[in-house]
Structures are given as C-alpha cells and as structure tokens.
C-alpha cells in the first residue's frame, strides 16, 4: 500500500441494509475513494441479537446493499470493508454475509478474495482471562467474575484496525469483520497509507453513521479525505451539505464524552479540533489528536439467557376504569400474586413480572413530570419471565381472566377489556441480557481474532 499520507474513505450508509442510491457510491468512486467502509452492526437494538446470534437487518436489504458495493469496489479496484457483520459480529453473522458475497461474485462472474475475521470469544477462555487478571471493568460495571463470563451465550471482542489492515495487506478485495469498533472499519486503510492517527480516528467517528453528520441524514453517505494536516468531509449526494455544526454535533452522538473516545489502541481527543466550512457543503477539520494507550485493550460484549418470557396485551378504554387506573393496577397485582401462589405454589421470588400501562407512565414510570393528565386509552402489557417457558405461560394464563374482566372494587358488573390476540399469550422464548461491560488486556492486537482468506474463483 502506498504510504502517501493521504486517503479517501467512502462511507455509503451508516448501516449495511439501510439502503442508499447507487449513484452516490459512483460519485464517491469518481472523487477518488481508496476504500469503501461500512458498518453492519450495533448493540443498539438490544441483547437478543448477540445472545441468539441473529441479525436485526433483513437479508434482502443487506444483500441488495452488498450487491451494489461489491460491484462498485471490484470495478474501482479498491477494498470493501464490512464491520460487525450480522448486527452483533458473531461468527454466524460473518458467515451469513460471506455467503451473500459468494453469491454476488458468482452473479458478476468475478474472482473475489474474501477475508473473514472472526471475533467470537470462547466463554471458558474469557473465564481464564478473568482468573489471570487480564479483564478490567469499564464504568459503571464492577469486577467480572468467571461465572458471569460462563453465563454468556455469546461473547465477542471488538477488534481495532489491526486485523482488518492485515487482511487488506494479504490481498483481500472484501473484508468481512466480526465485531469491530465502528471507527476501526473506516480507519484501517488510511492508517495503512500512513495518514496521521488523530485525523484518521476523529474522521472515522464523524463518518461512521454515514449521512448523520450531514444536514439531510437520509440522503446517502459521505466521503472523508484525510491528509497530513487534517481531514475534509463532504456528502456523497451533491445536493446536500455538511456544515461545521452538523459535523461537530456528530461527536455528541451516542457518546458519553463528546471529546474523548477510547479505541483498542488509544484515545481519540477532539478537544483541540477546529471545524471550518471550505464551501457550502464541505467541512475542514484540523487539530484532532490520538493518544496511544500503554496497554492495548479489547472491549468485550456478552449476552446471556436470563429466563423465558411470555407477554399478554389488553386494551382499556372505559373511562370509569381509567379514572381509577391506579386502584385497578394495584388490585390486579395483588390478586395475581395470590392466584399464582395458590395455583402454582410459586412465590414472587421464583418469577419476574411487570405490568406496563401504555398511556399511563409506561415509558417514564415515576420520572414522568406529568402526574395529572388522565389517560384516554391504556394498553396493558403483562410481561412474565420464569426459568422455563411453560411456567411463564402458566402465570400469564392465570392472569388472563383478570386481564379480561377485572372489575374495580365495589363494581356490580364484570367489565370486559380488549385483547389484541388469540391466544392472548405470546411466547417470546429465551430472553437475554447484556452481561459484560469489560475489556481484556492483550499483548498483540490481533491475538483474539482469527482470519480466513478465501478466493472465490470465477476466472
């Protein structure tokens, strides 16, 4: 790779499968892109996807975006890098995308070299890292114990740029990374080309969500141009703009600290960065720093089963009940606990139950500043979690007659409420929780990751 100290990174969208106009990718290539980099995952949709090792995105949507990107990258002779494949970056997520790339290379009759970088961690190995003192909590977590590591259904490590850069050096046309930091996916090629790390990592954070740093977020991605003094960012769509405000504001997005961010190899520091409009749609950023860490660390994400859940949904519209909804809810809770105890011989410590009243404090609970507006209509969602599905459903079935008919104290008739479904009980299967907020010390930034190179030959 040429050590020119400059690089142009094309980010077509903030999430593979979100869709984009193919002409925006053509435009980025015409502007001289050296790499196409796109994120394929996030923890943002909750613990289910990592726990179950399934993707959030629709296969058809991902395949469509990949088809456009593989063709464009092959035509331009530049690498395509996909990070956090299959939402959570599990090994099955990488294999899921790899199968799509095989099919695309077959369709376009091209030889494609694919690198698959696996980031899943064996739970027993993580327990050993805990034992040897290599695992540290990240705020607000406490120390990790071995049992918690073993409770995880899947654990992934967030790779930095190093395994990705290695795969590019080994000749990969398409790099499919398991879980990676959003920024590592964009940073790998610029770092290989000798660009300064401050602007590389800072620009990667700004660009990782594609068009979110523009004034029109749903109109395609961005092109980042890095040089020895800083970087310039512009939207791929010629009719929309990046402004100093839109670019700087993206540093706030989904970050605890708007100035500093830890990466495996060090910390991005944007406190000294300046944002200047080059023209109506391009922004120049200089002054970004990257402070290398003393010890290279890999953040872990883990998700494990906490039980089996059954839901039940009923609607209440009767104003007489809604006027006394607090009394109704207390009556419901008390009677249900008594019935479950009497019929199933379970006390409340043996299952978990919450009742959310959508329309009445379901979203904010006791934090709601409005304590006086009466609800017009309320959706009651019963959530039951138990050690097994049958118990959760049995509890929901015991709740069913009350959700259908529970009167207010003193009422002389039995009201009937509005169930959404038949059966009323919706079995959710195993439910998961994020169990890790920890990082492991490593000597070699690639040691937790495994790379397989495959040549899909159509020559």
């Amino acid at each position: 790779m040429n050590q020119t100290g400059t690089a142009k990174v094309l980010v077509p969208t903030g999430m593979l499968g979100a869709g984009f106009d193919p002409s925006t990718v053509d435009r980025g290539i015409a502007l001289g892109a050296d790499v196409i980099a796109v994120d394929g995952g996030s923890t943002d949709s909750g613990p289910h996807y990592l726990g179950q090792a399934v993707a959030k995105t629709a296969a058809a949507a991902v395949a469509r975006d990949l088809d456009v990107l593989v063709r464009a990258a092959k035509r331009a002779g530049i690498p395509l890098i996909v990070g956090s494949c299959g939402t959570s970056g599990t090994d099955t997520g990488v294999d899921w995308i790899a199968e799509m790339v095989r099919s695309i290379s077959n369709d376009i009759d091209e030889t494609v070299t694919v690198a698959r970088i696996y980031s899943e961690q064996d739970t027993e190995a993580v327990a050993q890292y805990v034992r040897s003192g290599r695992v540290h909590p990240l705020p607000p977590a406490g120390e990790l114990d071995e049992a918690t590591a073993r409770r995880c259904s899947h654990i992934v490590g967030l790779m930095g740029h190093e395994p990705i850069a290695d795969a590019v050096l080994r000749g990969a046309d398409v790099v499919l990374a398991g879980r990676a930091t959003d920024t590592a996916v964009l940073s790998a090629v610029p770092l290989l080309r000798g660009c300064p790390p401050g602007p590389v990592w800072h620009s990667s954070k700004i660009a990782e969500c594609g068009g979110l740093c523009t004034t029109t977020p749903l109109r395609g991605g961005v092109l980042v141009s890095i040089d020895p003094d800083g970087f310039t960012i512009e939207p791929l769509d010629p009719d929309i703009a990046c402004t100093p405000q839109s670019v700087a504001a993206h540093m706030l997005y989904e970050n605890v600290d708007p100035f500093r961010m830890r990466e495996p190899a060090g910390t991005v520091d944007a406190r000294g960065a300046t944002y200047v409009a080059l023209d109506e749609r391009r922004v120049r950023v200089e002054g970004s720093q990257f402070i290398p860490a003393d010890v290279h660390t890999v953040k872990l994400e883990g998700s494990g089963v906490t039980g089996y859940e059954t839901l039940s949904l009923v609607g209440i519209r009767d104003p007489e009940i809604l006027d006394a909804i607090e009394i109704w809810s207390k009556t419901f809770d008390t009677r249900l606990a008594a019935r479950v105890s009497a019929l199933l011989n379970l006390d409340p410590s043996q299952y978990d139950l919450v009742t959310r009243y959508y329309g009445w404090n379901a979203v904010l609970g006791s934090l709601d500043p409005d304590t006086t507006t009466p609800p017009r209509e309320v959706g009651v969602v019963l959530r039951v979690r138990a050690h097994d599905q049958a118990t959760a459903t049995a509890i929901a079935k015991i709740a069913n007659p009350m959700m259908l008919h529970l009167p207010l104290p003193g009422m002389s008739h039995l009201p009937s409420y509005a169930f959404l479904t038949s059966p009323a009980e919706l079995e959710r299967g195993p439910v998961y929780e994020f169990l890790l907020q920890h990082a492991v010390d490593v000597e070699d930034p690639t040691e937790l990751f495994r790379t397989e190179i495959e040549v899909i030959n159509h020559a």
């Binding site: 909750g46 605890v256 708007p258 959310r356 904010l364 709601d368 994020f434």
Partner: protein
C-alpha cells in the same frame, strides 16, 4: 406539571434529545438556537449534577455534564437506570427519556 405560564428548557431549546451511549449509559443533549439562550440557561443554574440526579433518580456521582460553547449544546451523561434490554427496561434506545429534562421549568 409546570404551570402554564412557566417556561421550560424545551421552550427555549431547539432540540432536547436522549439516546443510549452503549447498553450501560444514557446521554441527553440540549441544543440551543443561539448563544444568548445557551448562556441564559447555563447561568440560570437549573442544570446541575444535583438537579439531574433528582430529575432522573440517579446517583449524583455518576452524572457528567459537558458544556459545548461553540455548538451551544449542553450534554449530560449518566449510567442507565437498567441495562439496555434488561427485564425492567422501559425504553430500549432511551429515545423517550428527554421529556423530564425538556419539561424542567426555568426560573422566572
């Protein structure tokens, strides 16, 4: 509820938003339309570690407040009340948690 003639942070801000910052943190941002409104709210002293802790029923020691003068933004971060997606979680993306801050009354 604030009294009808009381102005709130949401009334003077151009946007108050909330989101997860990873599964273990919640972050709030108040965007002001200009320097005057940004300074006025800053100087009013309504956004402090103590007021945020009370508003969100969270330990004050965990509350971080950032003032971004150039952007006219006040950003607040603190640990989530529950881990994202845990059984008791009410808001998977924390996207609706902006309302208590937006409805915080400003001094007259």
């Amino acid at each position: 509820m604030p009294e009808a003639n009381t102005r709130t942070i949401g009334d003077v801000a151009s946007l108050v938003r909330a989101k997860n910052a990873g599964p273990f943190w919640l972050t709030l941002e108040v965007f002001f339309p200009d320097s005057a409104s940004y300074r006025a709210v800053q100087e009013s002293g309504v956004i402090t570690g103590t007021s945020v802790a009370e508003l969100y029923n969270t330990p004050e020691a965990g509350v971080q407040i950032f003032n971004l003068d150039a952007l006219h933004v006040i950003k607040i971060s603190f640990p989530r009340p529950t881990t994202q997606g845990a059984f008791a979680d009410r808001d998977m993306h924390s996207g609706q948690q902006s309302t208590p801050l937006a409805q915080l009354p400003l001094p007259r």
